[in-house]
């Protein structure tokens, strides 16, 4: 249980932060979004493949590959020494979610690649099927390991949300995938299949609910990270875009413009939520009270 502390009573060292902010740039929240979009799309592709809707399954496969490729490129670009990115493959450390994630990605990205390539080639049905299912099996890990990664730090706004962040990231990934499917369906004129439509609306609402719950469950010394400045702006935008987009899709009755616009808003909402979480972590690191107050509260007086 999070003790109820009054932040005002906490001593600090001239208001200086105790922790270091992550040095990650915009590439990282953008990767969280792209990886989630890819993962959700891979799951959607597998389901559509079973359902026999190969046109829509192709759309989903063709979202997953560029998304994970761009995401991986952004991960490499954010490194202080990008040319050494392969050093991630030196070790496999269960104590490091980034190491675990590296190996998850190393398996997922080729699977997504083979699934898209065989679909485009129109041949190798067996490989297309196997890789679609391999990608789908790894996709839930791709969507959620990043939440474990940020939670496995000393940043209070992240660490204290370790039980709720995975749900936020999973629903955000699902919403983005549904929204992208709606956009592609509208763009090609064929319309998106019902599962993608349901996913976009349901996951967008779930994402906003999960994010709200995640923020509310933080203790009073930690929650302010989400309540001011850039995190608040990103978070408000994420919820507005998600709920608004879902409403437009639902009310639009499958009209092309409603699917396209609603889908776009839902995808944008997913991106905004990732930036919200990362910016809140930086704000949390800068606030000495967020670190000191909960720790002081659990020590004997």
């Amino acid at each position: 249980m999070v003790p109820d502390v009054t932040p005002v009573d906490v001593k600090t060292y001239y208001e200086r932060p105790v922790l270091k902010e992550p040095t990650w740039r915009w590439y990282i929240p953008a990767y969280f979004f792209a990886g989630g979009l890819a993962a959700g799309s891979s799951l959607l592709a597998a389901g559509l493949d079973v359902r026999g809707d190969q046109r829509a399954a192709r759309h989903a496969r063709l979202v997953a590959l560029p998304a994970i490729t761009a995401g991986s490129a952004m991960l490499v670009a954010d490194l202080g020494r990008p040319e050494r990115f392969h050093h991630m493959l030196r070790v496999a450390k269960p104590s490091s979610p980034m190491s675990t994630g590296t190996w998850i990605l190393a398996a997922y990205a080729p699977a997504a690649g083979v699934a898209a390539a065989t679909d485009l080639l129109g041949r190798f049905r067996g490989a297309r099927s196997a890789s679609t299912w391999a990608a789908a099996a790894l996709a839930p890990l791709v969507a959620t390991y990043t939440a474990v990664l940020v939670a496995d730090t000393s940043i209070p706004a992240w660490h204290d949300a370790r039980c709720t962040l995975p749900t936020v990231f999973a629903s955000s990934a699902s919403a983005a995938a549904g929204g992208a499917a709606l956009m592609l369906g509208a763009a090609t004129g064929a319309g998106a299949p019902l599962p993608a439509r349901r996913l976009a609306i349901g996951a967008a609402l779930a994402e906003s609910a999960a994010a709200t719950a995640m923020e509310r469950r933080l203790g009073p010394a930690v929650r302010p990270a989400y309540e001011a400045g850039p995190p608040k702006a990103w978070g408000t935008a994420a919820k507005a875009l998600g709920v608004g987009g879902a409403a437009i899709v639902a009310a639009g009755r499958r009209r092309r413009w409603a699917d396209a616009l609603g889908g776009l808003l839902i995808v944008a909402g997913s991106l905004c939520e990732r930036f919200c979480v990362v910016e809140a972590g930086k704000a949390s690191a800068r606030d000495p009270r967020a670190t000191v107050a909960p720790q002081r509260a659990r020590l004997p007086a």
């Binding site: 270091k20 490194l79 070790v91 269960p94 590296t102 939440a147 000393s154």
Partner: protein, 291 residues
């Protein structure tokens, strides 16, 4: 094996043993920083920077007493903190005929902060390249030819020690002068400290000395003296570099009850597994035939 949580068996508290070094490895080395005798001269900062060729990172006074480094970082591996405090006057009763001075006195707290070289080191646990490793002395060091600057160790450290160096890309921190230790020398800061506020040696011996010093301070009426990170039962398993403080840790910019984030990793993965299962179930549910 890269997990650094010390197991509970007898031999397992020593981080070098736990990390797989042969039994003949050196005894664990560390610092006992006795802040009660620090005079704030900053010789430690200068010696460290000189020996390790650490780049200059600003020499402005920061407006908080005599602190000109602010906090530890990629380019500050020893940081002297100054805290100005009003205190109750503790002087004995004045001589007859001399006016009594009630109430407000003043004191400086001065402390040389450093990487704690934790027994359970979060930076080491999260490093995905193996650049951060445990040395045979039980210290934690970054291999600069391996680090690719992913920056994950930076938010992992509960003390805000390690950071990415601007213009270089890699992360840097105190090495406990690994190169000097290898040839039997003392770290530069301990060598330079004129009051032996920074004491270097076997951690076991330093802990005995610290307990003794604490007892003597308490006997002299300095009740606020306390040890910080000397206890193996604390959230980081105790540290190779521990302190004697004269006030709450947060006054010195130190977290009062630091815990290695790795302790909660299992719970985080469990939550992720549930969310992953929920994602699969949720997406599957969208395929249920409508009416």
């Amino acid at each position: 094996m890269s997990l650094t949580l010390p197991p509970k068996e007898d031999a397992g508290r020593d981080p070098a043993t736990f990390s797989g070094y042969e039994p003949a490895h050196p005894t664990r080395k560390g610092f006992f920083t006795d802040t009660s005798v620090c005079i704030g001269c900053k010789a430690c900062e200068v010696a460290c920077k000189t020996w390790n060729e650490v780049p200059e990172d600003g020499i402005s006074l920061l407006g908080s007493s005599y602190d000109n480094t602010g906090m530890l970082g990629a380019d500050t591996w020893r940081h002297v903190a100054f805290i100005e405090q009003r205190t109750a006057v503790r002087a004995p009763a004045p001589a007859p005929g001399v006016d009594a001075r009630d109430g407000q006195g003043f004191r400086w707290l001065m402390s040389s902060d450093v990487c704690k070289h934790c027994t359970s080191a979060a930076c080491l646990d999260v490093c995905p390249t193996g650049a951060l490793f445990r040395t045979e002395f039980g210290t934690v060091v970054v291999q600069q030819d391996v680090c690719n600057g992913c920056g994950y160790c930076v938010p992992a450290c509960p003390f805000g020690v390690i950071d990415q160096r601007k213009g270089d890309g890699r992360v840097w921190k105190c090495t406990l002068c690994y190169d000097r230790l290898k040839v039997g020398d003392h770290p530069a800061c301990a060598q330079a400290c004129p009051t032996e506020s920074i004491q270097y040696g076997d951690v076991a011996e330093l802990r005995r000395r610290a307990a003794d010093r604490l007892a003597r301070l308490h006997a002299a009426g300095v009740d606020e003296a306390r040890l910080y990170l000397a206890d193996e039962e604390d959230g980081v398993g105790g540290a190779g570099a521990f302190f004697l403080l004269l006030d709450d840790p947060e006054v010195y910019r130190l977290p009062p009850d630091p815990v290695t984030t790795t302790r909660d990793l299992g719970g985080a993965w469990k939550a992720a597994a549930m969310a992953a299962a929920g994602m699969v179930a949720g997406i599957a549910a969208t395929f249920v035939k409508a009416r």
